[in-house]
């Protein structure tokens, strides 16, 4: 083997290893960034909400988080097979009806679920707020989610102001809505 061939092979091997290490680092950084959102909000910081662009559960349109700029958002991640989600759904519907005139929008993100099951759930609980479907759960990682249900409250400037892992209480829901609606 000539010296030139050896050098080329070594360069290829180094490039391959470097790209694999880069990919691993990128994944770790992304995961930490998402987990960092939760800890930042728990420290009282208000990081910008990651972008969200998903198809409507019923209908052909898409819903983006950016389209709600100027409104406070309750972003609730749920699945039809999740028991606590059944407790939260009527509370969210009631909050949406009570505060929508003040500039609040509730967005349900149905993930890792059968589309038909999700539609049945929406019908059973009479949900009228926008619901999007994310079958593969591609948005979950970006928001640092670990399970269902989880909820983020976003203020009018698109900043995350509160987070609930698991089922929220009525007091939590109301207090965080007031926080999100407050003008800075």
């Amino acid at each position: 083997m000539t010296r030139r061939t050896t050098l080329v092979l070594q360069a290829v091997a180094i490039a391959l290893v470097a790209s694999l290490v880069g990919l691993l680092a990128w994944q770790v950084v992304n995961k930490e960034a998402a987990a960092g959102l939760v800890s930042a909000v728990q420290r009282g910081e208000t990081p910008t909400a990651p972008p969200l662009d998903l198809p409507e559960l019923e209908g052909d349109g898409r819903v983006t988080l950016a389209s709600f700029r100027g409104q406070a958002v309750v972003l609730n991640f749920w699945a039809s097979w999740c028991e606590p989600c059944k407790e939260e759904a009527p509370m969210l519907e009631e909050a949406w009806k009570r505060h929508r005139e003040r500039g609040l929008v509730v967005v349900g993100v149905n993930a890792q679920d059968f589309e038909n099951d999700a539609k049945d759930f929406v019908e059973r609980y009479g949900l009228t707020y926008p619901v999007v479907h994310d079958g593969p759960g591609s948005s979950l990682g970006r928001y640092g989610l670990t399970g269902f249900p989880e909820t983020w409250w976003i203020d009018r400037e698109g900043r995350l102001v509160a987070y609930a892992q698991g089922e929220f209480t009525q007091e939590q829901l109301d207090a965080n809505i007031e926080r999100a609606l407050r003008r800075s």
Partner: protein
Amino acid sequence: MTRAFVLALAAALALAAPVALASEQSPTLAELERELVCPTCDTTLSMSNAPIADRMRADIRERIAAGQTKSEIKAALVEQFGEAVLAAPPRSGFNLLAWLLPLGGLVAAALAVTLLARRWLRARPAGAATTGGPAANGVPPLDPALERRVDEELARFDA
């Protein structure tokens, strides 16, 4: 030897083809449970008792009863949950890399070992491999005076 191997391979392939066809046409729940992943727990359905895994099993049972093939059932679940629901990536498009890279790695490793082995054999002094002389293992031969002294010491020790 080679002929026997080729015959055995052909027989194995001939037997495997109808089995694969039967599995495609009439899949069982157990098979699909091993080939599909629970989206919330990242284990195969066969190893999961999560609520979504139970729901997926019920869906698969309904589809089997409706006479759907294995590919149709998998395609329906991919449409709902994305390709991550497949335990093994599909053999097409970018996912083909997941199948080809390990094979490529094996071939590259075999090639590297062959090339290195040839290089080492060429680097050995002529005759070293067949005579097994004192320099065969890379140790230089003993000084004759030192060798004579060792023999004398051994003879004295034996006496």
